[in-house]
Amino acid sequence: MPVAVAGAEVAVPRPHGWIGTASDWVRGLGIAFALLDAVLLVLAWRSLRSSAVTPTARGWLLVSVGLVPIMVAFLSFSHGLEASTTVNACGSCHVMTPFVQDLRNVQSTTLAATHYKNRFIPESQCYTCHSDYGLAGTFKAKVEGLGHVWRYTTGRYELPIKIASPFPNVRCLSCHAESQRFLNAAGHPKDVLPSLVDGTLPCIGCHGPAHPEQKKEARAR
């Protein structure tokens, strides 16, 4: 297997099917449909030059305004929903830079970096730990994300960035609860498990810090 060398780090490329992933196809088809629709819109515009709208113009309009954009909307929404859960998406706001840098630092011993560098979570690491389980969790995370975008673009946030509410154990337990390593660990005696499940004993209390300590600094924006 070829070994890719990136800077000082040695990395083995992840397996990638010859035909690509479903995400690749959604993105590719989305771009193709959007470009196709742009051409159709130009044709529709040109067909509207006469004083009366011809049946041909109606046809172009129906396809370019009524049909193809529905496909574009579906593919863009699908791709955007998934792409907005990636670490790159979270790191696109500069206030997240220290967190993402720590995450990607193989020397870091924070809980987040440990999960990232060992790929305990294969992808979308920020989103996986910061969203609750199930459909309601996904919806809640998206609504909260919307709030983050609003506060970031309007500058209504304070540094250092703090988690809005205590990190719930259920997010750790959704992966670890059935793990033998977790259940049989010396640090998790049977009498402590109920406290971990009901959240009275926070996981992060023993396994922190999740992220590096942030310096108090003036807001850059």
Partner: protein, 69 residues
């Protein structure tokens, strides 16, 4: 569509709105950030809905002008 129907500028407006929608959709697929996706969700998609409403309105007006609706 007869001269009594919806003027062509309404349909041109629908085309422009759909084009804006397309540009933002392309942006989402080429370079997705939370801000771009939010713009697409709450800016581009409503514009597309308005374009479709304009198109439907034009079709209905056209049919009415021909006493078909």
């Amino acid at each position: 569509m007869s001269p009594r129907g919806v003027p062509a500028r309404v349909l041109r407006l629908a085309i422009v709105l759909t084009l804006v929608f397309n540009v933002l959709a392309l942006l989402v697929m080429v370079h997705t950030t939370p801000i771009v996706f939010t713009l697409f969700m709450f800016g581009a998609q409503p514009l597309f809905v308005i374009a479709v409403v304009l198109l439907i309105g034009a079709v209905v007006a056209d049919l009415r002008a021909k006493d078909l609706f």
